[in-house]
């Protein structure tokens, strides 16, 4: 019944019949026509059903401005982020929605200031997200001021200036304000002081200085503060803060000053430069600090870690720390669940120090370190582990026994002690087929990533016996067509990544794909699916563009990973539909490839 991906989309709806009805109602433009005039029924739709119906129509590219009208009495939340066709016409219809309280039109590049006029005076709108709508400027803010109910406003990376932000002081109910990537100065913060309900403030990448930062003590409810990529070096004692981000800042002091000590739970300091690391942690209450990101921050001395007993997440990647620092990590390891030591100078001896001190550790990353098979035997002594990553290390899969005949022990057998291990990443380690065999005993394994030019079909065959495998990646290996043909994947497998396996031909791969239609295969020969969509509502997504009048500060913002410049058009179809289209249009060539005749 149906397709796995369909149910993943509508996962929030527990009811199967509701899912069937929505699927039927959104099957095609004709299906929509049969019910779009049932006005009285549409007015009675409960909000979450109306929302599911609207968003399903949107994902199937069946939504257009005048169709929005049927939802104007029922829908309360709308997310059209990344949709490039959304423009002033859409806003005109959305402005008529009676009960809308959350609107997300981030990354909708056609939205400009005048399009926002349509929203003026909406009575229940509480959340507005227009992040990265670069055409919105101060004039657009003026339109939003008439919506006095706004509590959450995200205008990061728009063209709003300090003058526009100053106007926001009239929105007295604001509790979350995202002003990231805007060229605002200290005067903006000064005028925002009246927003006493402000809990969450994002001013990353702005022109705020220490003077502006000193105003922050006047916000009594501020719990989340993001000052990343600013010139702020001194943070005053804003005692309400629980989560602070000062990544990529030069830090002189944090929380030094009179008053109660701030009780921090989350601290992000990636890429920060410390003037005085030893004292940096003294001025706030670190008893509840559970999340600490100190990646790439030129650390040498980790002695400050010993007072942090509540740590659950610790990222020390990209620092020049070695085995002598691991004892400090061990002293803070009682509650540690996630540890990232990639790109450090830690070796297998360092990993040995951790054993016995990190009894709750679930995730460990040692990518790009000089660790080797000895480290694997120590990792095998941390039974709580669920995810292990050792990409680009010196792991070879065998340990030479000392003395006489070089007797080899397969190092990965040590991992069999990890009864809860679900994810294992050993990409870019020179593993051979024999070394892989112990992995087949990891019954709970769901994700396995390997990338080694020594792996042959034998490995593929071994790995088919892992019962719960969902995601399998064997890249750059010498797998052959015969191996793929005889591969019997475990029933749970959903993704098979064979990128870089250059001996595989397109025909063999397509045959495999046909036989196992519920597995997503990744390989250069199995690229984008051809879709023949005569729908005029289909628009090519535009790339995020640089502003012409003013140079944008960042060509790629620190939050780039959140921006989806390309919408994956495959998402709107279920896997079965994609496959039927693939094989139906045999005459049409996939992107960038000349048509090949079928064998």
């Amino acid at each position: 019944m149906g397709d796995q991906s369909l149910f993943a989309e509508l996962g929030e709806l527990e009811s199967p019949l509701v899912r069937l009805c929505i699927e039927k109602a959104t099957q095609s433009g004709d299906a929509v026509e049969t019910w779009r005039r049932q006005r009285r029924t549409l007015e009675r739709l409960p909000p979450q059903l109306a929302g599911s119906l609207l968003h399903r129509l949107h994902r199937r590219r069946l939504l257009y401005p005048s169709l929005l009208e049927v939802f104007k009495y029922s829908v309360e939340r709308i997310d059209l982020s990344g949709e490039n066709s959304v423009d002033a016409e859409w806003m005109a219809y959305l402005g008529a929605f009676q009960y809308l309280h959350s609107l997300n039109i981030s990354d909708c590049h056609r939205i400009n200031s005048s399009a926002l006029w349509a929203l003026s005076g909406m009575k229940y709108l509480k959340e507005v997200d227009i992040s990265r709508c670069s055409k919105v400027d101060d004039a657009g803010i003026k339109h939003l001021l008439s919506i006095q109910t706004i509590e959450v406003l995200c205008i990061s990376e728009t063209s709003v200036s300090t003058a526009g932000v100053t106007l926001l002081s009239s929105l007295k109910k604001l509790s979350k304000l995202d002003l990231g990537g805007l060229f605002i100065t200290d005067t903006a913060l000064a005028s925002l002081q009246v927003l006493k309900k402000l809990r969450h403030l994002d001013i990353w990448g702005s022109d705020i200085s220490n003077e502006g930062a000193s105003i922050l003590v006047n916000f009594p409810n501020l719990t989340f503060l993001n000052l990343a990529w600013t010139k702020v070096t001194i943070l005053p004692n804003v005692s309400s803060i629980a989560c602070l981000n000062m990544s990529d800042c030069t830090i002189q002091s944090m929380f030094k000053g009179e008053g109660n000590k701030a009780r921090l739970s989350k601290l992000l300091l990636a890429g920060a430069l410390f003037k005085d690391i030893a004292n940096a942690f003294l001025y706030f209450d670190s008893n509840s600090l559970s999340f600490l990101d100190l990646s790439n921050s030129s650390l040498h001395d980790l002695s400050f870690l010993s007072i942090l007993h509540a740590l659950e997440y610790l990222d020390l990647s990209g620092n020049l720390i070695g085995d002598d620092s691991v004892k400090y990590i061990a002293s803070a390891g009682a509650n540690l669940k996630t540890l990232n030591l990639s790109n450090t100078r830690v070796t297998s001896a360092g990993v040995a120090v951790l054993v016995g001190h990190v009894l709750k550790l679930e995730t460990i990353s040692l990518d790009s370190t000089a660790t080797d098979d000895l480290a694997i035997s120590y990792i095998g002594m941390i039974p709580s582990l669920k995810a292990v990553s050792m990409k680009r290390t010196h792991v070879r899969g065998v340990i030479q026994q000392n003395g006489g005949d070089a007797e080899c022990v397969l190092s990965l057998t040590a991992l069999e002690n990890l009864k809860q291990l679900e994810k294992l990443n050993l990409e870019e380690t020179p593993l051979k087929d024999e070394a892989i065999i112990p992995i087949t005993n990891l019954k709970q394994l769901t994700h396995l990533s390997l990338r080694s030019s020594f792996l042959t079909d034998a490995s593929l065959h071994h790995l088919s016996s892992i019962p719960n495998l969902i995601n399998l990646s064997i890249q750059d290996a010498i797998l052959t067509n015969a191996g793929i043909d005889s591969f019997n994947p475990p029933l749970s497998l959903q993704v098979l990544d064979l990128s870089g396996d250059w001996l595989l031909t397109k025909d063999a791969l397509l045959l495999f794909v046909q036989r196992h239609s519920d597995i997503e295969v990744r390989h250069a020969h199995v690229t984008t699916f051809q879709y023949d969509n005569g729908d005029t509502k289909y628009h090519l997504p535009l790339q995020t563009s640089m502003r012409t009048s003013q140079q944008r500060r960042f060509s790629s913002s620190p939050l780039k990973s959140k921006m989806a410049a390309i919408i994956d058009q495959r998402l709107k179809y279920s896997r079965a539909e994609l496959l039927s289209m693939q094989f139906a249009s045999m005459s049409a060539a996939p992107f960038g490839e000349p048509p090949t005749s079928p064998k």
Partner: protein, 98 residues
């Protein structure tokens, strides 16, 4: 069918649908009404009235109950929904937690 194994579902217009109890319990809502110890009138008389659900929709719901039992026992067919009924059927299904 014995009387104890059946349930009566009554639509807005007063039409009575007598169906198998197991079929009716595909709906979480009806299941709760019939099995809860709270002493609902429905539990005693094995009758549930739905003033908000029209007759054609309630009929379709009953068809769905039987189809669902059939599907669960291995006979995997498609459940056809007339396009004009989708919205009302969806709301009834939502109310009934089926």
């Amino acid at each position: 069918m014995k009387k104890e194994d059946t349930v009566k579902l009554i639509s807005a217009e007063g039409f009575e649908f007598i169906i198998d109890k197991n079929a009716a319990m595909v709906s979480q809502t009806i299941r709760n009404m019939l099995t809860s110890p709270g002493g609902f009138a429905e539990t005693e008389h094995r009758e549930v009235t739905f003033p908000e659900i029209s007759t054609p929709i309630l009929e379709k719901i009953c068809q769905y109950f039987y189809w669902s039992l059939q599907y669960a026992s291995g006979k995997e067919t498609e459940f056809y929904i007339e396009p004009e009924l989708t919205l009302e059927l969806m709301m009834a299904a939502n109310y009934l937690h089926t």
